[in-house]
């Protein structure tokens, strides 16, 4: 069926595009078209200085929580850890972008109504000056101790004093102080991942993002704990696969398009193709263990 109005409009539009003046029945619509001719192309150029590819204060890896109660989680972070909230922004359609500086690290807190049924929790190894005081403050702010007495502050055989708590939103916090001299310093905020296979995840991170596997502890074939370096950040993982707990992480890189391609080649699945969004170029992938990585760089 021919839509005569659509045909006629296109003829008038074509005449205008060829240099005519808008007139007649479609004038109001053609006025809109005049303006549309000045629309920007949707390729915003990244800044050329590589030092600026990520915002100030951000490390290579930034954990992200996707929760239906982002505002309350930010309040909790302030109360429990003295975090500084960097922003709380409602987005159209009930979404929410937020963030907080926790110690030396940043935590992204996104979600809102759009997180219903799609929550992503985080598990974090957070280094503090005084584990016992930090534990008390977290409990007072509404956190619960994990694993009963095991989670209370104690010196651990692996060289740190630590306490394990869960916040009211399901995120795990391993509050720790290194008892030696070569461990992470106060303020470090390190994602703690739970892949089915730590060796497998390290191999993936090496192939996909040029990461570097570090210490792997445990018996032969049975990994208790492992870590890997990505840029200037560390990620840790529990490796026996008893718990699986996919998490979401931002990854600042110089070239998100390349990171996306490499990740797919290394066995990841695509969540979102590279695109410009909120002043950044971002691409999303899911690693073979369900963790979501958002490779990104700023455009401005």
């Amino acid at each position: 069926m021919i839509d005569h109005r659509a045909e006629q409009f296109d003829r008038e539009l074509q005449a205008m595009l060829d240099g005519g003046k808008p007139a007649g029945e479609f004038q109001a619509l053609l006025d809109v078209c005049v303006r549309l001719q000045e629309m920007p192309r949707f390729e915003r150029k990244p800044m050329t200085t590589t030092a600026m590819y990520r915002p100030e204060g951000f490390k290579t890896v930034t954990p992200m929580v996707f929760t239906t109660q982002p505002d309350k989680l930010l309040d909790f972070l302030e109360a429990a850890f003295g975090a500084t909230v960097t922003h709380r922004v409602a987005t159209p359609g009930g979404g929410f972008h937020g963030g907080a500086r926790v110690g030396e690290g940043m935590l992204r807190v996104n979600g809102g109504a759009m997180a219903v049924g799609r929550e992503m929790r985080a598990s974090l190894h957070y280094f503090v000056d005084d584990v016992d005081a930090a534990y008390k403050r977290a409990i007072a702010a509404g956190a619960k101790v994990m694993m009963g007495e095991v989670g209370e502050p104690a010196d651990r055989p692996y060289g740190e004093r630590s306490a394990f708590v869960a916040d009211p939103f399901g995120n795990q916090w391993f509050l720790a102080k290194d008892l030696g001299s070569d461990g992470p310093k106060t303020g470090a905020l390190i994602p703690y991942l739970y892949p089915k296979s730590a060796r497998g995840l390290i191999a993936f991170l090496e192939k996909a993002f040029g990461g570097q596997g570090l210490a792997v502890h445990g018996d032969e074939g049975h990994v208790m704990h492992a870590s890997a370096r990505l840029g200037d950040s560390l990620v840790e993982m529990g490796g026996d696969g008893a718990i699986t707990f996919p998490q979401a992480l931002w990854l600042y890189v110089e070239d998100p398009d390349a990171a996306y391609r490499q990740a797919l080649a290394a066995g990841a699945t695509s969540l979102s193709e590279p695109a410009d969004q909120h002043g950044e170029r971002t691409a999303g992938i899911e690693d073979p263990y369900g963790n979501r990585w958002y490779a990104r760089r700023r455009l401005i």
Binding site: D3, F9, D10, R35, M39, F42, F58, T91, F96, R298
Partner: protein
Amino acid sequence: MSVFANEHELVAAAQRDPAGFGPLYEANFYRVYAYLVRRTRDRQVAEDLAQEVFREALANIRKFEWRGLPFAAWLLRIASNAFADHWQRTKRETGIAIPKEPSFEETERSAMLFQLVERLPAAQQRVIEARFVEQKSIREIAMELDRSEGAVKQLQLRAIENLRAAMEVAK
């Protein structure tokens, strides 16, 4: 849920930590671009200058002070200076008078329209971009979308009608 997306909060967040600049960029990109494309009459130049403007704004965000004007006014002043510099660099020899400032309303209407295009249903948005940004013919778009030319013309008309209606509501 207390959410504050107002400008003061966004600016304060970006001043505390430039990482928070993204939402300000997002909220104002089309405004700055619309201003610049009106003055330069050149998409490429307007895009390049818009990037310059935001780079400069980001570098100076901590110096920004409220003086009773919206944040966009500060950005547009930077844009106006960027355009003047550009004109000096490129057109000084030609003797052509510098194009006059577009009105704030003009700039806002264009910025709003560009923003509205992003909210169109995907197929309509694609047709608008292909037609007006990439300057493709109806036939080319029909091939790309694997639809008849008649269907593309319908999408085109519906998209423009939607944009026009949304602009009227916003007025």
